[in-house]
């Protein structure tokens, strides 16, 4: 682990909660830690909980979407969960496309969505 954002493992799913300010250095370490964890643990899914973020600007959105696309290149689906109502409204109004990630209301639904995605693949 390089960074300060913890990554938990539940079966073959990685769960992480972004609860700190994503400065450049923090963001880079976060992405590297996630990719390491995917590689080492053969994770099939990644859930990123952002319920603790009261603001997602295009900088943070880009980091989240990029992380999803990186994980995707390693065969791992990413689900973003817990986006607050005002954050969703703001991102859409700005015209930011969150390509590369799926979304769920909360952690439970995020995990359920990952299972569904895996069933589809089989």
């Amino acid at each position: 682990m390089r960074g300060t954002i913890p990554i938990l493992r539940l079966g073959d799913v990685l769960i992480t909660t972004v609860h700190v300010e994503l400065r450049d250095a923090v963001a880079e370490a976060f992405q590297a830690d996630i990719l390491d964890a995917i590689e080492k643990g053969h994770a099939r899914g990644l859930v990123i909980d952002i319920s603790g973020l009261d603001m997602v600007d295009t900088y943070v959105a880009r980091i989240l979407a990029e992380t999803g696309r990186m994980a995707h290149l390693m065969g791992t689906d990413t689900v973003l969960c817990g986006m607050r109502a005002e954050v969703a409204a703001t991102l859409v109004r700005m015209g930011y496309p969150m390509d590369g990630v799926r979304a769920a209301l909360d952690l439970d639904e995020g995990l359920a969505l990952l299972h569904e995605l895996r069933r589809e693949k089989k």
């Binding site: 300010e21 603001m55 607050r84 703001t90 700005m94």
Partner: protein
């Protein structure tokens, strides 16, 4: 407030959020103003490395609003219409920062001259 580091981007955003909340802006208006502030402050940091942000309370008849002015003496913007249209970026972003911010606020004014710097002024009114 002076912008001279990445941490200042966070400090400015927190100051704007605190002011919006203290004036009773709802969560949507607060998020919109805070996000636009974050975008424009980050632009000062990324493109100019140094600048000033002024946060003011404004009133118009019975309306209360917050005006934030971002000023830098950085490289400036050569093609303003293109930047306002979005999808254009010379640094590491999607190029939606400026055009997106404009959609989040009630008033948006951008003045820029290549080589002289950029000034952006935004106003968000409290919804009643």
């Amino acid at each position: 407030m002076l912008i001279a580091s990445e941490d200042d981007v966070i400090l400015v955003r927190k100051a704007v959020r605190a002011l919006a909340e203290s004036h009773g802006f709802d969560t949507f208006a607060t998020a919109a103003l805070t996000t636009a502030t974050s975008e424009l402050t980050r632009n000062v940091w990324v493109y100019a490395r140094r600048g000033q942000v002024l946060i003011e309370e404004v009133t118009n008849a019975d309306r209360t609003g917050i005006r934030v002015t971002f000023r830098d003496e950085g490289p400036g913007i050569a093609d303003i219409p293109r930047v306002l249209a979005g999808g254009f970026s010379t640094a590491r972003s999607m190029g939606l920062g400026v055009s997106g911010s404009r959609r989040l606020v009630d008033a948006f004014d951008l003045q820029s001259e290549p080589g002289r710097g950029t000034t952006v002024e935004i106003v968000k009114w409290k919804t009643t």
